[in-house]
């Protein structure tokens, strides 16, 4: 992209020479400094999280302070359930709205929906949590997994809507024309030709949204709350990895703090694996952008 390294003009004054070297050097230094925090975070996660990182930690339930061998099986399952619930709500709505925007989205209402999706993407997650608290927790009079799922769904929605619209718009016009020419009505052309051709991109968007939601903590604080026991009931408080980390990191017990590190390492693994899938499927669908 950039032109070959240009020769410095001849007869350059020393301060322009110096200024050039200093500015380019500063840019290199910035790039080097940016690497430091990631390296430190990963290093500390591994150093403090790995000692407890053994099978029993993933299969046991939390134990009282001082009792060895506590785990976070309920938090892992809880995170999966909460994210699954969120996806169950957000995927059909998000994909439907995205397809609508791409295929029928003209006029003022479509512009409004597009703008709303952008706004939703910027809403702080804590505000979403407050809204879900008012919408679900207050009427039900208790914290519940459902409320957590609703909060996560709201956070997933804008990502799915916007990405779906983009990939559906990328489907060539000739596909639609061919389907129509074969006598398919418009809805079948969309449902059976356009959406399947865009499916790789849509799946990518869904995975991205789920990976982000899996790491969200703030909206769960006052919706799903947390739970120290095994619970699969959707109308009861439910444990999740982020809430587990938060509670255990704040606690004044060293044992719990260590477990918080291990949980953080696990969470990062989950998110990294998800985004790894994402990157692979991106490469396959777009030839690596």
């Amino acid at each position: 992209m950039s032109p070959a390294r240009p020769e410095l003009p001849v007869g350059l004054s020393w301060w322009r020479r110096f200024g050039n070297a200093a500015a380019l050097g500063a840019s290199w230094v910035c790039a080097a400094v940016v690497i430091v925090p990631l390296a430190l975070i990963v290093w500390h996660l591994l150093a403090k999280g790995l000692p407890e990182f053994r099978l029993s930690f993933f299969t046991n339930l939390p134990k009282p302070v001082g009792e060895p061998g506590g785990g976070m099986a309920n938090a892992i399952v809880g995170t999966l359930i909460l994210v699954g619930l969120g996806g169950l709500i957000a995927v059909p709505i998000g994909v439907g709205a995205g397809v609508w925007l791409a295929e029928y989205g003209r006029g003022r209402f479509a512009a409004l929906v597009r703008y709303t999706a952008d706004v939703l993407a910027g809403v702080p997650s804590i505000v979403v949590g407050v809204a879900a608290y008012g919408l679900v927790v207050a009427p039900m009079h208790r914290f519940s997994a459902i409320a957590g799922g609703v909060a996560l769904a709201i956070l997933m929605l804008p990502t799915i809507v916007r990405a779906t619209e983009e990939v559906v718009l990328l489907v060539p016009r000739s596909y639609r024309e061919a389907a129509l020419a074969l006598g398919a009505p418009r809805w079948r052309a969309i449902q059976e030709v356009v959406i399947p051709s865009a499916s790789a991109g849509i799946v990518t968007a869904i995975v991205l949204a789920i990976a982000r939601a899996a790491g969200e903590t703030a909206p769960l604080l006052f919706t799903a709350l947390n739970n120290r026991f095994w619970s699969l009931q959707l109308d009861q408080p439910m444990a999740s990895l982020p809430a587990f980390i938060y509670d255990y990191a704040k606690a004044p017990y060293e044992d719990w703090n260590r477990q918080a590190w291990t949980a953080a390492l696990t969470l990062l693994f989950v998110v990294t694996i998800l985004s790894g899938i994402l990157r692979l499927s991106l490469r396959r669908s777009q030839g690596g952008r």
């Binding site: 020479r17 050039n20 380019l24 709205a97 993407a121 505000v127 990062l268």
Partner: protein, 325 residues
């Protein structure tokens, strides 16, 4: 602007499809209902916050935003310490992240050899995908002790004549929150700015070099041309910093005092909601917290809208760049 996906059907085609048109309409309406739902969700968030906040709004009016008296026991609520904390921590984060982010973006867009550029891009992507709570636990257990034992005493003894660097080194506090936030918003600044620099016409760089500029002077011309968009990117990063919750809650110390010192603990709008909403016993306490959420929502809405408009305008309407934040 937007391409018509389908042309108008010919007369014979319209006749052939006449019997199936109800299905088409039903399908279109179903998808339209999903789209409407997106709008309804946003409206519900606004409605819920406004409804929940109304008791506090009625009780305090504008005083809520300028009073620094937050006392749940005596039922006095004023949000100023939290507004201040949010402004100060976000401002500090921008101060740290903007120069670093711009330097990195210039590096990625103009200087980086291919392999090195790939590594740095990967690091930026990885930083963006780390969950907020992981930043929090790192800032709490690693960065805070380091600041307390090494950085803050040094700053205090050498720059202690400035109010910013006075007071007891707690470790946990504004400085910790500012640094963690700066790391968290770096990816937004870097990736947007890089896209903006790459979207600037190459002829600017070439013309500048042809006129005898050094490489850095030519790059300065490119950066100058991308300035409005870069401002937008910085504003979008600010929007992210303002609403960030978990990492900040863990490292800021959560006291509702206003202190000019970077070493002192404080609280932000999001951290006070996270800490107190489930424990609020009185209706007024809860309403006050929800009013803070409402204010936070409105502020981020304005900030994000401004940032997105600037980036959209600078890229000639490329939603993919503006949406990347």
């Amino acid at each position: 602007m937007r391409k018509e996906a389908f042309g108008p059907p010919s007369v014979s085609a319209r006749k052939a499809r006449a019997s199936r048109i109800p299905w088409d309409a039903a399908y279109q309406n179903l998808l339209g209902a999903f789209a409407l739902f997106v709008f309804v969700v946003a409206a519900l968030i606004v409605y819920e916050c406004a409804r929940g906040a109304s008791p506090a709004v009625l009780a305090y009016g504008w005083r809520f935003l300028v009073s620094s008296d937050w006392d749940p026991v005596a039922e006095h609520f004023g949000a100023l310490p939290y507004l201040f904390g949010t402004a100060m921590s976000s401002g500090l984060a921008l101060l740290l992240a903007v120069p670093l982010g711009l330097g990195t973006a210039v590096f990625l867009a103009e200087l980086a050899p291919k392999g090195v550029g790939k590594v740095v891009s990967f690091v930026i992507e990885a930083l963006a995908s780390i969950p907020s709570i992981v930043y929090g636990i790192w800032g709490f257990f690693v960065l805070a002790p380091f600041l307390r034992t090494a950085i803050e005493p040094w700053l205090g003894s050498h720059l202690g004549f400035i109010p910013l660097f006075q007071g007891f080194p707690f470790g946990i506090g504004m400085l910790d929150a500012g640094i963690v936030l700066a790391i968290m918003i770096l990816p937004t600044i870097v990736s947007l700015t890089r896209e903006l620099l790459l979207a600037t016409p190459r002829s600017l760089l070439e013309a500048s070099l042809a006129l005898g500029s050094t490489r850095s002077e030519a790059i300065a011309v490119v950066v100058d041309a991308a300035r409005p968009g870069i401002l937008g990117a910085v504003i979008l990063a600010l929007g992210r910093a303002l609403g960030e919750t978990m990492a900040v809650t863990m490292v800021i110390g959560n006291t509702n005092r206003i202190s000019l010192s970077l070493f002192a603990p404080g609280a932000t709008m999001s951290s006070v909601i996270a800490n107190e909403l489930t424990e609020a016993t009185t209706a007024l306490h809860q309403a006050s917290l929800i009013e803070i959420a409402l204010v936070l929502f409105l502020v981020t809405l304005l900030v994000n809208a401004a940032g997105r408009l600037l980036v959209l305008w600078a890229t000639g309407g490329r939603r993919d760049v503006a949406g990347a934040a």
